[in-house]
C-alpha cells in the first residue's frame, strides 16, 4: 500500500509531469519563472492549494454530487472550492504572515486561474481514484509543478545572461527551453512498470 502510494507520487511528479506532459499550468509556468525565489514561492502556494482542494473536492464529488445524480456539476463546484480556498489563504496571510504575503501577494490570485489546480481535482474524480490515490496524485502533481517551475526559473536566469539572438529573446527562447525540458522528461517514461 505504501509502495503504491509512493509510486503514484513519483508517477505524477516525474513521468506524467503536470506541465511538461499534461500541459497544465502553462500561464504561471511562463509568467512567474523569471526569478527563482518567486518561482519557489509560487510552487509552494500551488502545493498548498492543490492538496487542500483535492482533499475537499473528492468527498464532495463522491458523497454529495454522485448520490444526487448531479455529477455534471463537478467543475462549478471545484471552481467554487478553489476560489474560496485562495480567498481564505490570502486573508490568512494578510493577517498572520505579512512577510509571506509580501512575497506571494502578487501571485496568489494567479492560483485561482491555474488550470493545474482544477485539472488535478477533476482528474482525481474522472479516473475514479480512491481518496488515498487522489492525495498521492495531488502531492505528486504539485511537487512536480514546483520542481519544474523552479528548474525552469534557474534556466531562465542563466538565459538572461546568455548571448541569445535578438529574435529569440524572452518568450521564444523560453518556449524552446520548455520543449527541450519536455523531451528530457520523456526519458522518465518506463521508470515505473
Amino acid at each position: 500500500m505504501v509502495v503504491t502510494f509512493i509510486l503514484a507520487i513519483i508517477n505524477a511528479m516525474l513521468i506524467q509531469n503536470v506541465v511538461l506532459y499534461r500541459f497544465y499550468g502553462i500561464c504561471p509556468f511562463l509568467g512567474v519563472s523569471k526569478k527563482s525565489n518567486e518561482a519557489l514561492s509560487m510552487g509552494l502556494a500551488v502545493i498548498f492549494v492543490i492538496v487542500i482542494a483535492s482533499a475537499i473536492c473528492w468527498p464532495i464529488y463522491h458523497y454529495i454530487l454522485v448520490p444526487a445524480n448531479i455529477a455534471f456539476m463537478d467543475t462549478i463546484t471545484y471552481i467554487l472550492v478553489i476560489a474560496s480556498l485562495v480567498q481564505l489563504i490570502e486573508m490568512f496571510l494578510k493577517k498572520y504572515s505579512p512577510s509571506l504575503y509580501a512575497s506571494l501577494g502578487v501571485y496568489l490570485p494567479l492560483i485561482t486561474t491555474n488550470c493545474a489546480v482544477l485539472g488535478v481535482a477533476q482528474g482525481n474524480t474522472d479516473t475514479n481514484l480512491t481518496f488515498g490515490m487522489s492525495m498521492a496524485n495531488a502531492i505528486g502533481t504539485s511537487v512536480g509543478f514546483l520542481i519544474i517551475i523552479f528548474a525552469f526559473s534557474c534556466i531562465r536566469v542563466r538565459l538572461e545572461a546568455s548571448n541569445v539572438p535578438k529574435c529569440l529573446k524572452g518568450i521564444p527562447i523560453a518556449l524552446i527551453t520548455a520543449a527541450l525540458m519536455s523531451l528530457a522528461f520523456v526519458g522518465f517514461t518506463g521508470l515505473i512498470k
Partner: protein, 61 residues
C-alpha cells in the same frame, strides 16, 4: 425531489455562501503596511487571465 438532491443543492448553496463570505472578509482585511506598495510586473499580469484580480485593475489604472 429526492433527499440526496436536496442535500446537494444545500451543499452547493453553502459553497457559494462560503465563497462570498470569504471574498467579503478578504476585501475587508487590511493589507499589511509593508505590502501596500507591492510592485506589479505588467508582463506577469499579461500571462494571467484573471480579469477580476484587484492587482490587475490597479496595474491598468
Amino acid at each position: 425531489m429526492t433527499k440526496e438532491l436536496i442535500i446537494a443543492i444545500v451543499a452547493i448553496g453553502l459553497l457559494i455562501a462560503v465563497f462570498f463570505v470569504s471574498y467579503i472578509l478578504n476585501k475587508k482585511t487590511p493589507i499589511p503596511k509593508e505590502c501596500e506598495e507591492l510592485k506589479i510586473d505588467a508582463s506577469k499580469c499579461a500571462a494571467c487571465q484573471n480579469m477580476a484580480c484587484a492587482l490587475r485593475k490597479k496595474e491598468e489604472k
